[in-house]
Each structure stands twice: as structure tokens, then as C-alpha cells.
């Protein structure tokens, strides 16, 4: 019975098995779903593949996508952030305060708006890491706080950016269109992809990303390895808040106004995108590409159903069903 355990035994695996394991699989499934949606909708309606409609889809994905990028980090740690929707509208309101009320230059106002989100995220992290309040509760609290503050500061009314004509183009202008006439892809879309590239780099190549996975995989082991878990948790929630702040700026620029009552519900859309993209709510697994695909699945679905004149109520029903199917596939995959 001389068994040398030091020689690696090759892992038994079929092609199908390896495709279904790991989050590459979920990405492929989500990507396949996206393609199927594209094919079905373009066959069903000639309007779907129109350039303007595709731009509309991209634009509609921008805000939800940016929010989803941030919350991907939090979900990968095994946490959750319910505050991103209202923090987004709070950040939008603060951007308006900086630019419209205080008359600060637009870039400064934008930076202020993004930092507002970061501060809210920092607060989430602080409550979770130091007061040891579960993320669900902590961010639920901050969700209400941000919602209330947005309403108080705005006086319950939308704030318009009429005095800052350079603000709306931040999302709705087209740098590409200026260079390549006819290819009027809005800046918001560029910002989404830029933010995704940065998020991907942070998640995969930096210490912060490494600890994001480590925390989600085994928090106690990470702590016992000498990592300052509290500090990195706060950093991760702050990063998530920062993305919410960016989402707020994009939202405000797109509507040319800060709508204080708009944000609630966005957090669930973002979480849904992350989940469809294969990030595990149990933590330890997550990809930026998956999240982006997930966000597109949601907006393509809504857009396509609208083009087919499916009433909005039914769009919501279908979205819900898709989320359940996506998570169920994830569970089946995990059982193997």
C-alpha cells in the first residue's frame, strides 16, 4: 500500500463538467443568454437592431452597470449593499448642490458627488466592521439615511443644472461622435466601460481585490493570516460607495437634474445584474465581465420587451423570472 500522495493525481473531469464548474461557466451561460435575447428580439422586431435602439440599450445600462460594478466587490466578500440606490440619488443631489447652489465649477462638483458616495460607503464599512452590524442591516440603515438626506437637502424637489450647460454632456455628449462623425456613442457608455476596466484591474490585480476574494472565501482564515480585515472591509465598502457616487453623477447628467426620490429600487437591479453575471452571494467568487454581461441582459430584456409592446408590468415579471433561473443555474452548478 505504498501510496505517494505527493504526486499529483490528475483531476477527473469531462469537458461539460469543466464548462459547468468555475465562474467561467456562469459567464458563458449569461453571455449565451444575452446572445439568445439579441437573436430573438432582432427576429421579432426590425426595430431592435437599429443603431439608435442599441445606443439606447447601452445608455440604459450605464447607471445600473456602474452601480453593479461597485456592489460586485461587496457581494464577492459575502456581504451586501442595499444602500447603493439611494446613495446614488443622494450623490446626485449633492452634485447639484455643489454646482447649482454653490456655483462650483462642474469638474469640482462631479468630484464632490463621487466623494459623497465614497463617504456613504465608508460609513457602511465603518458600521459593518467596527460595530459588527451585519451588512444587510447596516446598509439598510444607510439606505434610509441617504434617502432622507437627499429629500431634505433638495427640499423634495428636483434640482436642475440649467446654469451649468457643460454638465449634461458629461453623460450625453459624445467624444467619439466628435472624432468619428455618425458614431454618436454617449460618454456615459464610455464611462461605464472605463469604470469596468478599472474595476476589473482592482479586482484581479491589486491587494484590495485579493482581499475581496479572501474575505468572501474565509474571513476568519484571512484574519488569522494577519490581514487587517476591518480596514479592508471598510475600503471595499468605500469603493462600492464611490461607484454609487459615479452612478449618481451619470444619472444627474443624463436627466440634467438631480431627482431626490428616484434611487430606491436601483440597488436591487444592480444586485440582480451581479447575480445573473455569476457572482456568488455566498462570497469568494465574482467577475467584472460577468457583472457587465448581467447588466446588459437586464437592459436588453427590458428594451426588447418594450419594443414588442409588452406592458411594463410584464417586463418586471419576466425580469424576476430571469433572476430566479440564473440563481437556480448557479445552485445546480455548485452542487457538482
Amino acid at each position: 500500500m505504498a501510496v505517494d500522495i505527493t504526486t499529483s493525481v490528475p483531476q477527473k473531469s469531462s469537458l461539460a463538467g469543466s464548462l459547468l464548474r468555475g465562474n467561467a461557466a456562469q459567464r458563458i451561460l449569461a453571455f449565451a443568454a444575452l446572445i439568445i435575447l439579441f437573436v430573438v428580439f432582432s427576429l421579432a422586431s426590425p426595430n431592435f437592431l437599429q443603431f439608435n435602439n442599441i445606443i439606447g440599450i447601452l445608455l440604459a445600462t450605464a447607471v445600473n452597470g456602474v452601480l453593479a460594478l461597485g456592489v460586485t466587490f461587496v457581494i464577492t466578500t459575502g456581504g451586501i449593499d442595499l444602500s447603493i440606490g439611494t446613495v446614488m440619488s443622494f450623490s446626485a443631489v449633492m452634485t447639484a448642490v455643489f454646482i447649482t447652489f454653490w456655483g462650483l465649477p462642474t469638474p469640482v462638483g462631479i468630484l464632490g458627488g463621487i466623494l459623497t458616495g465614497a463617504v456613504a460607503g465608508f460609513l457602511n464599512g465603518l458600521v459593518i466592521a467596527k460595530l459588527r452590524i451585519p451588512p444587510f442591516i447596516a446598509t439598510l440603515g444607510v439606505m434610509y439615511v441617504a434617502k432622507g438626506l437627499a429629500l431634505i437637502i433638495s427640499g423634495l424637489r428636483p434640482i436642475y443644472f440649467n446654469d451649468a450647460p457643460d454638465f449634461r454632456p458629461v453623460a450625453m455628449g459624445s467624444v467619439i461622435g466628435a472624432i468619428v462623425p455618425g458614431l454618436e456613442i454617449p460618454n456615459a457608455v464610455l464611462i461605464l466601460f472605463g469604470a469596468a476596466a478599472i474595476a476589473g484591474f482592482i479586482l484581479n490585480r491589486t491587494v484590495l481585490g485579493r482581499y475581496t476574494f479572501a474575505l468572501g472565501s474565509n474571513e476568519e482564515a484571512t484574519r488569522l493570516s494577519g490581514v487587517n480585515v476591518d480596514r479592508w472591509k471598510i475600503a471595499i465598502y468605500t469603493l462600492c460607495g464611490l461607484f454609487s457616487g459615479l452612478g449618481g453623477v451619470l444619472m444627474a447628467a443624463r436627466l440634467n437634474s438631480a431627482q431626490p426620490a428616484l434611487g430606491q429600487g436601483y440597488e436591487l437591479d444592480a444586485i440582480a445584474a451581479v447575480v445573473i453575471g455569476g457572482t456568488s452571494l455566498a462570497g469568494g467568487e465574482g467577475t467584472i465581465l460577468g457583472t457587465i454581461i448581467g447588466a446588459f441582459v437586464m437592459s436588453v430584456l427590458v428594451n426588447g420587451l418594450r419594443i414588442l409592446s409588452v406592458p411594463q408590468e410584464w417586463q418586471t415579471v419576466v425580469t424576476g423570472a430571469i433572476i430566479i433561473v440564473a440563481v437556480y443555474i448557479d445552485i445546480i452548478r455548485r452542487r457538482r
Binding site: 500500500m1 500522495i5 505527493t6 504526486t7 490585480r205 491589486t206 491587494v207 485579493r210 474565509n218 488569522l224
Partner: protein
Amino acid sequence: MTDVLVLMEGIEKSFPGVHALSQCQFELRAGEVHALVGENGAGKSTLMKILAGVYSKDAGRIFYRGREVDIPNPRAAQLLGISMIHQELNLMPHLTVAQNIFIGREPRQRIPFVLDDKRINEQTRALLDRLHLKLDPRTKVADLTVAKQQMVEIAKALSFNSEVLIMDEPTAALTEAEIAELFRIIRQLRENGVGIVYISHRLDELKQISDRVTVMRDGRYIDTVETAQTTADQIIKMMVGRTIYEVMPELRDEPYSETVLRVSNLNRGRTLKNVSFELKRGEILGFAGLMGAGRTEVARAIFGADPVDSMDMWVMGRKVQISSPADAVAHGIGYLSEDRKRYGLTLSMDVEDNVVLGSMKRFLNALGIIKRSDTRVTVEEYVKSLAIRTPSIHQQVKNLSGGNQQKVVIAKWLTANTDILIFDEPTRGIDVGAKSEIYKLLNELARNGKSIIMISSELPEILRMSHRIIVMCEGRITGELTAAEATQEKIMRLATQREDTTTSPTEPVYA
């Protein structure tokens, strides 16, 4: 080689409600393997967690290389050169081997916060080569066997250039071959002057690997002895403060005539092949075999927990169809998993609720409300008759020791009127003293007419308890032995009887 690396003295530690350590001492020299033994709750892990900076001591002093030191957190311990491999492995399954080893001190590139994974893979490879471990640094830890994960933990500990390595029950989940590999590495480290603390329940291992043994009992230091000059019995005596070994199974005087369970033609893919056997009233039927022989799978099949390809089953002579655990329970069959905490108990509920959980229906009044007075009486009876040591029936089960948790599970099945009890590794994670109590309890249950299937990987346990022994290998029953004829050698021979040798049983390939 008698440099004293670590000296701990007068260590005190209390947790809410428990005085865990009182006036404990410990000495570790360079280049020795120092075994730390004691029953569960004796304080071994607690003492070592203080040394590793996981817990802080209430009083006492720690000297490292003659200098008094303060170890407030795991990082401080690591910087001194003290690493601990915890009982529950502390790895991040989603990260790679290299990422796990360098967690918390990743080499960075010149740009702040940006990782240099190429470098950690190279450094990890060098480290693994030093240990003669053939592992790819880029493998995800989740894809490794438990034994290899353990090796990763050791590599991680050594990457701190540790001079002190504490291993808490390192062999609990390993096979014989894997243990041999672990011991090879431990000996290699010892030669390099590392001081190793080896916490274990398995006394036979101590003889093989340790130089000295320190015994603890009830949070106190008992003695430190040279392994070579001490017998296992002496160590056990120090651990429990009493002698406990009785050797032969308690056979019944009257014949085992009544068949309570008959299983035949049990097949399940490649894991179970044509398994057939009978269980008699009042019998303890031992199931022996190596890991993966299919014993647990038989139990789960009988209990309806896994689907099977075919199975004919009779309970009390009546043919039954079992397709779910609920069916099995209805026919009086209970299964006590080796993983009590996951499958046997709801840890945060109290003793009372755990015991009646499976038979709630019996305790409901006409309105469907639980009759608390009835449950209390029943549970208190069992606490007394099974000698469950708990302050009250309202104690949360997670606060009980392993042995007492096992008794709670037994009480649960007895409350459910179970006649056939399947014990899967009944004493896993239970300390020596409590083991004999569980044995006594099993004997008593058999005497009172319960029928017991006992799956165990510990041959002494099989030999000591079983009235009859069935041995399995690769999903087949390869033999049956009576208590009188069974020996360790005979069981091992049957347990390694691979399929192609069954035609000539006189010439076993593995002798």
C-alpha cells in the same frame, strides 16, 4: 539540541462562565516534537492559541528564546516565528495555493497595491520544492484533497521561517498513507531544528512521532514525560485520571434469533455492488473498511438519503420500500451521522428542543400546541438515563462537549421510538473518557433490544464493540467475521481485498 524555544508558565485564561486554563505551563525545545494530549476541553487548543496570539492570556508569562514576550495577535506570533495550523483548516478555498500562502504579505509591484503574482508563484514553488511537495502553486485550494490542503498550511507556516510550529489534530482527516507523508515532513522539520507542538487524540501516533508528551486535564497541567519511557496506558491514565479499557465486546447470552433488518441486492452505480446482510435484534453489527469502501453509502441507502439502483429490504420480516429518510424513520430506523454538528443537531437550540425535534407530533395537544410539560419530562428522563452532562435541559447544544452532543443525538432517536440505530463513526471527535461512556451506552442499548449498525474506521473500536463484523472493500462486502474470530489482521486483509483477487482468496495480493 536542548535549546528551550518556548517557555510558558502560570498561564490563566477564563471565558465567560468557564475557567479554561489555570496555572498552565509548557516548554518546547528546538528540534523536538512535543505532543500535547488531553481530553476534549482539557485546554490544549486554548493554551496553544494563546501562544499563537489568537487568544490573549489573563495572567502568566511567555518566554521566547529566554526573553519575555507579549503576543497580542497572530501577526505578532508570526513575526516571532510561531505558526499554528488550526484544527479546522484556515485556508481560502477560492484562492490558489500561492495566494493562500502569501495572504497578508503579497509581494507588490512598484506601483502601490498592484500584485506581483508571478513572484508569489515562483516563491511558492521554491517553498514546495523544499518540502518535496509536488503541487502547482496556481491550483485553487478547493480542488485539493484535505491532506494536500494540510500540506499547504504547513508550507504557509514555514514560509514565515517559523521556528515553532503548532499542529492541532493534523491527522484527523487523513488516511494512513497521508499520515505517513505528514510524518515524513515533520521529521524533516525536526532535523532542521524546528520545535513542533503536536496536539492529538490518537495515542498510537504519539509513539511514532513525538519525543516528549505533555498531558493536560481539566485546564490544568498534569505532567511532561519522555515518550520512549512511557506506555500508552500511563498516558491515558494521566489524561482521564482513571483506567478505562475493557476489551472484549459484551456478547449476549441468548442466541440472536430475530432478524430485524434484512437488506439484499443493494446496488448503486460503482459505489455499491450487490450488498446483502442481516441485522439481528440486540446485535451490534460492525462495518469495517477503509475510507471510501462504501460503508457510509450503505447506511445512507438504508436510511433513504441517497437514491439507489436496486435494493430489497425487510424490516421485522415485512418488505418495505424506503425512498426518503422520512420512510426510514417511520420504520424505526435512525441514522447518526459522523458529522453531528451538521447533520445531527441544531446547535443553537437547547437540549430539550433537539431531543424532541424529530418527534414533535407526539407532544402536540389538540390545538397543535407543544405540551411543554410532557417534553420536559421526557427529555429530563433521557438526560438522566443517558447521563448527559448539561447544566439544564435548556442549555444550548453548542456548549456541550462532543460526547454529550452525541448523547443528545441518541436521545433524539430514542424519543422517536427508533429500534434500528445506525452509528457512523460514533466516537469521532470525542475524547477518550467520553468514548468509553458512548461504548457503555451502545452496549446498554443493545442489551435493551435495540439493534445497532456501527460504522467505524478505528479497528480497536470495531473489535471492542462488534458482536459481528462485516468488512467492505470498494463497494462490496468482502467478508464477515464473528467477534471471536476477528483480529486486526483479518479485517485488514478483507478490507484490502480488491475485486480481481476475490477468485483466489487464499492468496491476497496485499499481505
